[in-house]
């Protein structure tokens, strides 16, 4: 009897392969896929994407641009 093959090989992919994980610039934590963070280019240099999770945004936690060193908000 032939070995059973998986009809849906894509289901074997892990979550990390399918979902692009994002990290908060302020707290460095991974942002959950169901959360809606704010993403914008650094206001000063415009070279890097600043990503802020909802909690950091709510609490007004500072973010630092890794390129130009701009400290916001």
């Amino acid at each position: 009897m032939p070995a059973m093959q998986n009809a849906y090989p894509s289901t074997k992919l892990s979550v990390h392969d399918t979902v692009k994980t994002r990290t908060c610039t302020s707290c460095k934590k991974t942002i959950s896929p169901d959360e809606k963070p704010v993403i914008f280019l650094c206001p000063n240099c415009g070279k890097v994407e600043i990503i802020r999770c909802n909690m950091c945004r709510k609490q007004g936690v500072k973010y630092v641009c890794p390129v130009c060193g701009f400290v916001g908000p």
Binding site: P43, N44, R52, G60, P73
Partner: protein, 217 residues
């Protein structure tokens, strides 16, 4: 001119700092006048505290943040920007800003769901929100927070900074102050876009951005 104003002026002149408008114009409009309350987040923008407890903002930091905000605004498509002012003193300023920058504007009451409910007649999908007063414009900040779009806001010393992604520290209570701030921001955005020469001015003076109530200036 009070003592701290003259001290600030002499410091700026001694360091030969080039501001967007002359320091006298900033001081005459009162953009540096804060309130008697100061939040921890806004303390970094305070120049000094008057003996009567009034917090005075640093004009250099206001100028610097105006430049940065203009850079940020100029990176977005004009029709994807919305400027908001619920308070009456910001109505004319916001309208003029939108006219020159070609952005959308909301003056007066913000209809709940304007950014979150697609069934509304006034529904819009901006990518950047410019706010005049975080306390009065709380509704638009909450909705921008929910859909995840950046918020640029003028903040006084007593304003909360939750949900704001770029603060422009300034006096957002005064009519003349708001007029001058929006005039500078508009001019700087147009300069950053290349629609205005680096040393050119807007065709209208800052007075045109000032809200006139009851026919008075």
């Amino acid at each position: 001119m009070s003592s701290e104003e003259s001290r600030m002026k002499s410091e700026i002149e001694s360091h030969a700092l080039e501001l967007l408008v002359p320091i006298d114009q900033y001081l005459a409009a009162g953009v540096h006048i804060g309130t008697y309350v100061c939040n921890k987040a806004m303390r970094e923008f305070v120049y000094r505290i008057r003996p009567d407890g009034l917090y005075v903002l640093d004009v250099r930091k206001i100028d610097e943040r105006l430049r940065i905000a203009a850079k940020m605004i100029s990176r977005y498509e004009p029709d994807k920007i919305v400027a908001v002012s619920v308070r009456q003193y910001g109505h004319q300023s916001v309208k003029k800003f939108s006219q020159y920058v070609r952005s959308k504007s909301i003056t007066g009451r913000v209809i709940p769901g304007i950014l979150t409910n697609p069934h509304l007649e006034y529904y819009m999908e901006p990518e950047l929100v410019v706010v005049t007063d975080p306390r009065a414009d709380q509704q638009i900040i909450t909705e921008a927070f929910r859909i995840g779009i950046p918020v640029v806001s003028f903040s006084d010393t007593d304003n909360r900074i939750d949900g704001i992604d770029l603060i422009i520290p300034a006096n957002n209570k005064g009519r003349r102050s708001l007029a001058l701030l929006y005039w500078i921001l508009t001019r700087q955005v147009l300069r950053e876009r290349g629609e205005l020469m680096p040393n050119a001015d807007l065709p209208e003076p800052p007075d045109a951005f000032e809200t006139r109530i009851g026919g008075k200036a």
